[in-house]
Symmetry: C2
């Protein structure tokens, strides 16, 4: 009996060794930018090169686009927490119910409205343990990657859960290392001179960026400090010969804007107003970080085994302190952050997967942020993983490999039963939307009105076709209602009666 056991062990070990040889796990870097718009780059994501593409200088994004694949129809949620949590869980925001941004425990950041109030959404974000009020209890992406053998690094903005809940600390959701991440979703300041928003000798809650004390009082811009620390963190897995997952989650290009002195002069010289010049300098500083990472990978000779995924979490910020007419900062797209119009949800996305993505290629097939979860796990070779949550996302690996040739017919859904800003303008606040093929329906949860657009020849959502194509409108409304119900989506409620707003297929 002993000899049989020895034989079995031998077979098992040699088998494992062989598998490891055959499929060396790729390193994976998710380079996630905050609040970056679809046009905030010198890489054109539209069919035309716009004035914005000429304004911004992102040479390293251009390089990534040359070496990898461009996605022109990549979507996220209209604000940050819903997107980030979809990425980390694979769930539609309508299902995970972290539909607005999180910060304080048990407290909704929704602005007061005269008619509606938000549903009891998951204001506390996600939780890796059950039983915590108003959290989505989930098996998070980093934990699964860790299980799959990855060394997992969080660097930058976390924003997974409210203060004083477990997932406020990235280490609780499966990260081996946390650099500068906590509950808050924005930086107190980008400036080392301002200690990134902290007091000189103690952290300032909630906005002071945690950690990074050695940069306090220096002139190092936050983006640079995170890049240096993020790359330092790669030394360990490289020397351990372990695959790594680097979630490079920049605080850039979120408010509060400040000049990245390394880059601002040329934007001033170009005549941009002060705040716009600052914004462009933050964009370029973020782009430098991407370049530094690409250079580092090459230097360490691991670039051929490292996947880089570039993405933003929602549309570009389109209100004050941005200069110019509000909600024009993402043209040709309508509106910006907070909106279910394209300006609020369409993102600049690039993927370089050496040996898989065709250099300089592009796809106009659509995908949405919850698709990152299964895609990254597929890239990592994780199979048969178990999640406590239902995963809505669909891996885009087939899309990368150009295996999907049929037209897009899958419905994509956005659901924002919340009030983000005081004014109900530009498709912001209390909206749901659905895209199927080139058709897109917007449902105003406050008025009951529906708008129908055909994005093929109206990317700017200027021609409402809901009356002209009434049948299509009602077909899309029924589909949206079905999807929302399947997600157990929450509706805002009438303050007066406490009754929920009707589904889009019900009369108002």
């Amino acid at each position: 009996m002993k000899s049989i056991r020895t034989l079995v062990l031998l077979v098992l070990f040699s088998g494992t060794g062989a598998v490891a040889q055959r499929s060396k796990k790729p390193n994976i870097i998710v380079f996630l930018v905050d609040d970056m718009g679809w046009q905030d780059s010198s890489v054109p994501f539209w069919t035309k090169v716009t004035e914005f593409n000429k304004r911004y200088h992102t040479p390293n994004m251009e390089r990534l686009a040359r070496e990898g694949m461009k996605f022109t129809n990549a979507y996220a949620a209209p604000v940050c927490s819903p997107s980030r949590i979809s990425l980390m869980t694979g769930m539609s925001a309508a299902r995970h119910k972290v539909t607005n941004w999180t910060l304080y425990k048990d407290a909704s950041v929704d602005v007061a409205d005269s008619l509606l109030r938000p549903p009891m959404w998951n204001v506390n974000g996600i939780s890796p343990v059950p039983g915590i009020n108003n959290t989505a209890y989930v098996t998070p992406l980093p934990a699964l990657l860790k299980d799959a053998g990855y060394y997992t690094i969080h660097c930058g903005k976390a924003h997974y859960a409210a203060m004083s809940t477990p997932a406020a600390d990235p280490l609780t959701i499966g990260f081996d290392l946390n650099i500068a991440g906590h509950a808050a979703g924005g930086p107190g300041s980008y400036l080392g001179e301002e200690n990134y928003g902290n007091e000189k000798d103690k952290p300032k809650v909630p906005w002071g960026v945690p950690g990074l004390q050695e940069y306090h009082g220096t002139s190092v811009f936050l983006t640079e400090a995170l890049t240096v620390e993020g790359l330092k963190a790669l030394e360990k897995p490289i020397s351990d010969k372990k695959p790594f997952f680097l979630y490079m989650s920049h605080y850039a290009v979120h408010v509060p804007y400040a000049a990245d002195k390394r880059f601002i002069q040329k934007y001033k010289d170009a005549g941009l107003p002060e705040k716009e010049a600052q914004y462009a300098s933050i964009v370029e500083g973020m782009d430098k970080s991407l370049g530094d990472i690409m250079n580092y990978l090459k230097e360490k000779n691991i670039d051929k085994n490292t996947i880089i995924i570039f993405m933003s979490d929602n549309g570009g910020f389109s209100q004050s302190p941005r200069a110019g007419k509000p909600h024009t900062q993402n043209l040709p797209l309508k509106a910006g952050k907070g909106s279910v119009y394209e300006g609020g949800i369409r993102e600049p996305m690039l993927v370089k997967w050496p040996g898989v993505t065709k250099p300089g290629s592009s796809t106009d097939r659509y995908l949405i942020i919850e698709d990152f979860f299964p895609a990254i796990l597929e890239m990592a070779g994780a199979k048969n993983y178990k999640t406590v949550q239902k995963v809505d996302g669909i891996s885009f690996v087939d899309l990368i490999k150009n295996k999907k040739q049929s037209p897009d017919t899958r419905p994509l859904v956005w659901h924002f039963p919340n009030k983000w800003i005081a004014q109900d303008v530009a498709g912001i606040n209390y909206r749901s939307a659905i895209r199927q093929g080139d058709w897109k329906l917007i449902y105003n949860l406050k008025t009951g009105s529906k708008e129908l657009y055909n994005l093929k020849n109206d990317i700017g959502e200027q021609n409402d076709l809901s009356v002209k194509y009434a049948e299509k409108t009602s077909e899309m409304a029924v589909l949206l209602a079905e999807k929302l119900k399947s997600y157990d989506a929450q509706m805002p409620v009438y303050k007066k009666t406490g009754k929920p707003v009707p589904m889009p297929d019900q009369s108002f």
Copy 2:
């Protein structure tokens, strides 16, 4: 081997039989009245007989008091859902977080406030299964009683959970039978002539009382219909010789008031205003139900093995449509339903446990509604039961048996981080409170102010001692903060900043 097994089985069976002989499980009836005040009875619960004791006629409560034990310091939460859920779970309302009343899924019934908004409380009530948003996931009392061998009957108002969630149906929380219970916490109408608030041929959502169709169109008052049906339901366990748990949960004496024609005339003759006469008639109709049940038990010869616990779920309603000056309906107690003053939380409670309670006895020891859960399970002989929730309540069986002789030092806590009505008056809305011994501290969550009373000689909470006994005030504030934190209590939040209101031991 076979013979040993037989022997073991024989021993086991004879053992079980012996135990069953020794401790025949008592039947348990919880007779829960809705919105009944401490003085709405001809049984005096205070040291003096009041005008209210003279106004109301409750001869069957008098009989129950003669045959059982009176509790003069029994407490509930200031509104119904928190109390009912504490009873069903053993949890403090601060812990289960169903802090206001429930109805629609995902929707808070809180009234809008200029300064604060409520925390993300459990608007969906309790749930016997995990993973349902904004519910307290719990092992409910009826399920445990069922496990302990009881036939469990729900009769009347349920109000355990929001519409379209599992526990809206009492059968999901361990009841074998449900008579007229659903999500709503009030009756559409008391009148058979009005089909208890339903349309003639179909239920009217949300307030129409479900079931009871055979009484539609008759002149049977709701209280009577529930009594008849509740007693009918006892036939099965009696004939099956199974112990029963009857949760006799009257919709009475909740609004909307109507005349119980069997009793109203004498109150009119006494000169009461119309609404007050109606109210008194509903109280007497409820009292008749108690008498009918007591008679039935005697008739069936099970009265000596049946425990009756009489209780109300919060203080008497003290606003329009009640007549008279608002918030004087519970004098000598201050305020009424919704308030953390005594008028909102002190309840008429009677217990008859044949052979255990001393007939005609009384105790002024205090207890609170979450204590019902462990007490009832102790009465039922349930031991080593498991609950997914942490139980805060302490059984009052020792208190019944007069085993507790030391003075009360246990802190009792109330927490209402919600806004029930539009006006912040009479201790209603955004309050916490704590009682220890005769001291009681009230914490105003909106203004930060604290009041201190000594109930021994100031049951009406008229003399605020917070300045005179500043040290006691701050000691009680620290104790309240400790308790609230131990319950993981939710605080309301400032609309402007999203920050939670400080704990009572923090500066405002």
